[in-house]
């Protein structure tokens, strides 16, 4: 049996050499840009120093330190702050995005003028296509302390202008608004496609039974899009440990005064990589992030499969 399988393997390689060659560029890319970097995470367990003789030399000559990097990381005050910020922000983003995306999708599916709906879709997709760098400039046009339009409004209505880039009070709200604003168009289109795909006879039946609009939404639309919700929710829960680096790095303009509300895992790792130079501890933070993220994804998937085998990812 075993012998037969082995012979079959090389036979298959030869027969399908053309297809294997086609997959080869992608295969090599995954090795260099995914599998080797994954293995390079061992630096989290080392006192990693870059030597002039290349990567492998520096990897082999640096000392093993076991879990010391992780101990240092969790002993610092930052670990708690960045974990809390990352998770809290992401939970709020997740909940609000889910709510607004579904609400917008359902509302748009019931609007009478479908041509207008198309216009709304096109308009609301624009932020999704822009980079956080560009949006950072947009935000500055509103929040600039001396020229921004919001401080102009505050001043003209008799209030004291706020120095937005040094005052942390409003930033959690600003991040929430920006996150929802940027992704709502995209998210609502995904749900819209799924809502429009629901068999109209369900609604006919519900109407004959005397269901009003709200009851139709509650008992027909929402149950029908739950599988899709579950899949997207699982994917997002896996990403709950991954902060949107672009937003947290570009929008507050790297202002030190805002550190308490802008520090998340990804900005911490980036600062560790570029400023402090402690690669071992920074890699430990990165591994902590990836490992917890993968576990969350697996757990969420397990729950999804328990609830409904059809809506699990794998």
């Amino acid at each position: 049996m075993n012998k037969k399988k082995k012979k079959g393997f090389w036979h298959n390689v030869w027969t399908y050499k053309a297809l294997i060659l086609m997959a080869l560029p992608g295969f090599v890319w995954f090795i260099f840009f995914f599998y080797i970097p994954v293995l390079a995470n061992v630096v989290a367990f080392k006192n990693f120093k870059i030597t002039p003789n290349g990567f492998l030399n520096s990897l082999f000559t640096s000392d093993w330190v076991g879990f010391d990097n992780f101990k240092f990381l969790f002993a610092s005050n930052d670990a708690w702050l960045i974990t809390r910020n990352t998770i809290l922000y992401n939970i709020v983003f997740l909940a609000l995005n889910l709510f607004f995306a579904i609400a917008f999708a359902i509302i748009m599916s019931e609007l009478r003028n479908k041509r207008l709906v198309k216009v709304y879709h096109t308009m609301s997709l624009l932020p999704y296509f822009l980079s956080w760098v560009v949006i950072g400039y947009f935000v500055y046009a509103f929040l600039s302390p001396d020229k921004g339009i919001i401080n102009q409004w505050i001043a003209s209505s008799g209030g004291t202008p706020i120095n937005w880039y040094t005052n942390p009070t409003w930033w959690p709200l600003i991040f929430v608004i920006l996150n929802v604003w940027k992704s709502l168009g995209y998210n609502s289109i995904i749900y819209y496609a799924s809502v429009m795909g629901i068999d109209p006879t369900y609604y006919e039946a519900a109407m004959i039974d005397g269901a009003n609009k709200w009851q139709q939404i509650k008992h027909v639309t929402i149950p029908q899009i739950i599988p899709m919700m579950t899949v997207l929710l699982i994917l997002n829960i896996g990403g709950i440990f991954r902060a949107d680096f672009g937003m947290f790095y570009n929008i507050p303009r790297n202002s030190g005064a805002l550190y308490q509300v802008t520090a998340v895992l990804d900005t911490y790792i980036y600062n560790g990589l570029t400023a402090t130079g402690d690669l071992g501890m920074t890699a430990a933070a990165g591994l902590y992030q990836s490992a917890v993220g993968a576990c969350l994804l697996l757990i969420a998937n397990m729950f999804a499969r328990k609830l409904d085998p059809n809506s699990a990812l794998f």
Partner: protein, 308 residues
């Protein structure tokens, strides 16, 4: 009878007129809020520097001026700005080509039901959705092992492939290219490469348009790889140039006590309106073209959502 039925069908999935009006206003306002900041930035870029200094940013310029745009194409930074656009355009065009080629080749092999290594290559690609190597490990590998730092490849290769695009393309191949066509071509003596080039690719053009769109957007908007790997001025893409201008301004603002040096530093950087003009020019290609490509984009999203 038929007429009556039709009227009923229209009524089924729509609000009554009052509710319809209210929700149109709500959604319409949100949709406007998506365009507004961009229009605002355009109008700032068209405002004269003196009226900006006097009145701040306004939605309607008090004094129009094209000086920001003449600065971009003739000022002291114009060479840097035009070079940055050149880098972005090259990286977007070439990178999208590389991405679309590798993605379709890889996705095609795992879409073929008779390919015995299909399962292996599928899992090999999908594992990357579950786990991320992390910024530090990727950085170390790209800069110290592959030695891509300060080369154009550092802007192209990290975005050259992704599991999502592979999934979209694989689903597309399965849906549009029936096994029987491939089988009959093989019986006629076509090689695998001929089948792919002559039969599969022409059928898959809409799919390729979709993944090229995703890839092109990724490359055009990329600043992250430049932030990590690029220091050389000649390789700075436009998004990263905007970040650099920003950082220099913040630096100058934080060290405001240094007097004359600040004046010199500020003079070397683009003015308020010129900065906004760079933002406008870097955004315009996307803003003008995406309404035409939106169909492919939405198609790709719904395909990507389809499971195994």
């Amino acid at each position: 009878m038929g007429k009556k039925k039709k009227i009923k069908k229209v009524e089924i999935r729509s609000f009554n007129p009052t509710v319809n009006f209210i929700f149109n206003v709500v959604i319409g306002l949100f949709a406007l809020s998506c365009l507004l900041p961009f229009i605002f930035v355009i109008s700032i870029s068209l405002t004269s520097e003196t009226s900006l200094a006097e009145l701040g940013y306004r939605f309607w310029p008090k004094e129009f001026s094209f000086s920001a745009y003449t600065y971009i194409f003739g000022g002291n930074m114009s060479q840097k700005i035009i070079q940055a656009f050149g880098v972005t355009i090259f990286v977007t065009v070439f990178g999208t080509f590389v991405n679309a080629t590798m993605t379709s080749l890889y996705a095609y092999t795992i879409s073929r039901s008779n390919f015995p290594f299909r399962r292996f290559f599928t899992i090999f690609a999908l594992v990357t959705m579950l786990f991320t190597p992390g910024m530090v490990a990727t950085y170390i590998v790209v800069s110290n092992f592959l030695n891509l730092k300060d080369t154009i490849w550092a802007l192209i290769l990290p975005l050259a492939l992704g599991p999502f695009n592979i999934l979209v393309m694989r689903t597309f191949f399965i849906k549009t290219v029936p096994d029987s066509i491939i089988e009959s071509a093989r019986i006629d003596g076509a090689t695998e490469m001929m089948i792919f080039m002559k039969i599969v690719l022409p059928l898959a053009v809409p799919g390729i348009a979709t993944i090229s769109l995703f890839a092109a957007l990724g490359y055009w908007n990329d600043w992250f790889n430049a932030l990590l790997y690029i220091q050389k001025d000649s390789l700075v893409p436009i998004q990263y140039l905007l970040m650099r201008i920003q950082n220099n301004l913040d630096y100058l603002a934080q060290n405001a006590g240094m007097g004359s040096q600040i004046q010199g530093g500020l003079a070397a950087l683009p003015s308020e309106s010129a900065r906004m003009a760079i933002v406008v020019i870097s955004t315009l290609p996307i803003a003008l073209t995406y309404p035409f490509f939106q169909r492919y984009f939405v198609g790709g999203l719904t395909i990507g959502g389809v499971k195994e």
